[in-house]
Symmetry: C2
Subunit: 345 residues, 2 copies
Amino acid sequence: MPVTIHDVAQRAQVSASTVSRALSASHLVRGTTRERVLAAAKELGYQPNPAARSLITGRTGNIGIVVPDLNNPFYTGVLRGVQARARQGGYAVFFADGEEDPVAEEALVRAMSRQVDGVVMCAPFASDAQLRSLAGVTSLTLLNRRLRDIPAALMDSAGGMRQVVDHLAALGHHRCAYLNGPNNAWSNRERRRGLRVAAARAHLTVVEFGPFEPKFEGGVQAADLALADGVTAIIAYNDLMALGVLSRLADRGVPVPQEMSVVGFDNLLYAAVCAPPLTTVAMPMEAGGRAAVDLLLAGIDGADDGAGPHRELTTNLIVRATTAAARPHSVSDASRPGDRPGVRG
Amino acid sequence: MPVTIHDVAQRAQVSASTVSRALSASHLVRGTTRERVLAAAKELGYQPNPAARSLITGRTGNIGIVVPDLNNPFYTGVLRGVQARARQGGYAVFFADGEEDPVAEEALVRAMSRQVDGVVMCAPFASDAQLRSLAGVTSLTLLNRRLRDIPAALMDSAGGMRQVVDHLAALGHHRCAYLNGPNNAWSNRERRRGLRVAAARAHLTVVEFGPFEPKFEGGVQAADLALADGVTAIIAYNDLMALGVLSRLADRGVPVPQEMSVVGFDNLLYAAVCAPPLTTVAMPMEAGGRAAVDLLLAGIDGADDGAGPHRELTTNLIVRATTAAARPHSVSDASRPGDRPGVRG
DNA sequence: CGGCGCTACGCAAACCATTGCAGAGGGTGT
DNA sequence: ACACCCTCTGCAATGGTTTGCGTAGCGCCG
């Protein structure tokens, strides 16, 4: 039923090979012939059979993307970027939700591997070894995960943290809390690392809590701990947690930002519209997705650049209404260094 | 480089056909032979080439999903359901974001059509004719869109509206606003229809506004209009708009739910965690995705049930903190339908 | 005018798995 | 002992496209 290359060939009075060439390597056929073929193809509505093509070329024209959790708007952002860039490159995209389970993720990638030319992974939890092994079965690029000789698009979390610290320090804060996300999440380690060095430079004392679930509930839970410590500012691992903090602070009657400043990470849609609007660092999610696909396609099409090129994307602090000057007596807090097991920068 | 069926055959000392049968129609080969083949396949890590298989079987083992807007958490919920059910059925899923453009959506489906066995569409804006034409090129099932002889999973918006109306009426409301989403969106028409009949039955006066963009900003814009009319309750087309309404009411100093009740639709994550938590009707997004795939796979695998079976999913009102008894003098409002001058209370 | 090279096209192999058909071998019934 | 049947396995065709190689035709130069 579907129209094949031979149907086109017959209608254009040429052989199938000529049709094939007319549609791809057009300079190998005479102009008049090519037009005849193109016309026939259009009249018949010919679409090449991708299975047949990929059988012989060994390429599929597809890429895959696996994310840990579709419910997290962060990942839908990168999904959009991935899809846009892929489409632009003529690729279709397979998609899989690993549901935060590294072994499921691995299985998914292996299952996809035969149907795609490469996959981009958002895999904060997978082990290095796992990732390397996967890189062997298909072309792989990572998002927000740095691994030698595997290409990756990275968002500069550390730089974002530096901006947060500078912002807070400029507002007169001396002691703030960091609410850890999952300890095994690469980006949590990255953010914490950035925070520590920036805080040390700015003479900001940081006490750490957690790890917590990087969700609303985790923030609720964490808020009480931070409150008990007497910090004047809270930096949450991500916006979801920050929203939880905000909610809990409101319940407990702590005015934000007067009594407590709160900063998130990601710049989700809801960060802008919650009350009060959340100060947060914007992660370039779509750009990250696009960059990851760029890298992937470069590795597939072009000569492999080898040596795992990493593309770093800048992040930006978005100052909204949850940060303000530290409350006056906060200075005394900063002068009480020893009262908590937390980290000081 | 990749291992083929012949490699397995050679290692197991049988022909390729036997390998093929051992892996699929296992009852056609002797037990001992089958084990030998399976062992060889496992040792070699054999994975059948999907292109070759699909070339001969005519099936791809893939399905596609196209959604209008990935930024809308509603659709990511659907996506999760689709993916889960597809995986369970051994299908992989292609994904495409139509970006709210019906012509792009159509192009996407046509592009996917050769690589999938069917696609499920969330296409609130596409025309009936367009959908029917698409149903010709590949197996199609719809989500939240009723069209004769095209299978669809439908969420009972009208039933949800009935519950909303009953709830509001029981709380003593007599006059409420409905904030329309896009007029060409199927589910808006459906919700409005449900509202009208339920309201008539409950003697609830409904004043309609809009259409608005079904987003936060649309809700902000709509809130002022509803406020000016003097209704005691606002039903928004969806949660995003309801959140905008909440935000605007807060800005204008209108206490919710004391002075104004607000109801949304969808039960997004944020509806539960905003302040105050939003009363809304829960749409079974994941279940809807799963049901759509059920239908699709039934149409593909089994005999086509023809005649477009429609599966209807129930919706549930989730009463949270944005609805309360109407303010006392609201009765008089209901008896003065024509006045304009805005907010009382 | 003959030979060479170039262009444009066709032939056929190859890619890999599935499946109808046939055949081999062993067992059973007569 | 022979015919028949049943089980298991192999052969070969099939699907649609790409591509290396061969070749026909033509122009150009010597």
